[in-house]
Amino acid sequence: MIQQISPIPTGMIETQTIEVSIGPQHPSTHGVFRMDAVLDGETVVGLKPVMGYLHRNHEQLAERMTWLASIPYTDRLDYFNSMTNNWALCLSVEKLAGIKVPERAEYIRVIVSELTRILNHSCVIGFMLQDLGAWGTPLLYAFREREKILDLFESLSGARMMCNYMRFGGVRVDMTDAMVAQAKDIVAKFPRFLDEFEQLLSNNEVLLARCQKVGILPKELAINASISGPMARASGVDYDIRKVDKYGVYGRFDFRVPLGEVGDVYDRYYIRVLEMRESIKILNQALRDLPAGAFVAPEVKLRNFKIPPGDGYGRVEAPKGELGFYLVSDEGGKMPYRYHCRPPSFINLTTLEDMCLGHKVADVVIILGSVDIVLGEVDR
């Protein structure tokens, strides 16, 4: 059933492997996720991820409701990053319906998405350190900073996590000057927090010893398994949809894409740190250049919004990787005929076994932590 590597050599001390079910109730599976691990002592010789405990029928639900009503459901996919989820769906629908998004809306979308990215990356590092046994200290520092971003999201969209903020053709609420000032304040203070974070972690010998050369994902495997996001970039794959597609107004910003060499847990950690720094660069530019104007395309209706028959795929660089929605509209066009979501968490998780084999149990949890999954998105 489960593939085993390094069979026990005969003629030596007879040892037994034990099969351990890590999850679905486990402190570090980030939700209801299960790994069926075969252990030889502490070493993992077989591992099978088991998913589906949180299946919520997202795609079929969306096929039975209007385009608009799917937006709040995308919030619940990756509940850390509702903004980018919204954007992915809106981008797909806008592509399909041929809606032009006003300038200001595009900039606001960039701002909230990049804030989401730094929020997500800092918390992921926190969670990973939690898995490393740091008693949540980095996590709570990350939460402390996240709080400020969530405050901004709340004053902007009304909710802290389930923002439901974007609409086809723009965003729901305009960003007032006060909110822009709030965002500028957050962006100005964030590098200081990052420095503190790095001082706490980046040179910590225990972290280095735990993370380096653990859970290596080779570049070829990353490409073949269609890994995306920071995980692919940590393996040295130069693939960032913000650069590849230049969707929205990303073509106008000056930022770089950091790439890792080894593709281990430490690279995945540090790529995220570097990406946060790049996100801050984008945020500074976006907040500086934020144009005036409409924040939502005026021709888009809320009710009886219909899309002519056709299909389209829109994708964004979500903090976890490529998040895309493939949508088919048929006659009538009030609701999707087919609605497919390409979740980065799920696809990034497919290489878990390759990364874990031969490592210790303790490494499995940090490898899982470094993959950065949210079960809402894995199971949908």
Binding site: S6, P9, M12, I13, Q16
Partner: protein, 169 residues
């Protein structure tokens, strides 16, 4: 003193009996530990604090734990040990050995010199310093011989372990 002696002796013998009669291997080891503890208590009773502490340190802290570790590594630790032959050839051989040992010890105890040394009293207290001086004084040759032997054993164990690791790779 007598009450303490008899109580501790009872516990020790009980531990020893349980260690050989229980069917579950881990239970056997735990009983064995009880027995070791009883022996250590006897040492304390005889005012041989140092030997008592060493008894706990080595027999409970090292030997018993090593046995436990060996059981955990080699047997199905979560399950029962399986059917075991309780009374058989091995049992008789063991009983014979036990009887011989008991006879030998009782003979030795009856001999005057040993009995005198073991008689309780302040004179018999063994100071740590005396032991130390004994090791590097009168008994230096056997002590060093033992040290060399143990070091050789240690190195041998490392070599075997390294070979196993190499074979695995």
């Amino acid at each position: 003193m007598d009450y303490a002696f008899w109580t501790i002796s009872g516990i020790t013998v009980l531990g020893a009996l349980l260690a050989v009669t229980l069917r579950n291997l881990v239970h056997c080891v735990l009983s064995l530990i009880l027995f070791f503890l009883g022996i250590a208590a006897h040492y304390f009773l005889l005012r041989a604090d140092f030997i008592g502490a060493v008894q706990i340190l080595i027999y409970i802290g090292a030997v018993a734990v090593l046995i436990l570790f060996a059981i955990m590594l080699t047997r199905n630790v979560t399950g029962e040990a399986g059917p075991q032959e309780v009374v058989g050839v091995k049992w008789w051989i063991g009983s014979l050995c036990a009887a011989l040992t008991a006879g030998l010890i009782s003979f030795a105890v009856r001999a005057d010199s040993v009995a005198e040394t073991l008689s309780p009293g302040p004179k018999a207290t063994v100071a740590v310093a005396d032991i130390g001086k004994g090791f590097v004084g009168n008994w230096i040759v056997p002590f060093e011989a033992m040290a060399v032997l143990l070091t050789a054993a240690l190195i041998g164990a490392v070599v075997i372990a390294l070979e196993e690791v190499r074979n695995r790779r």
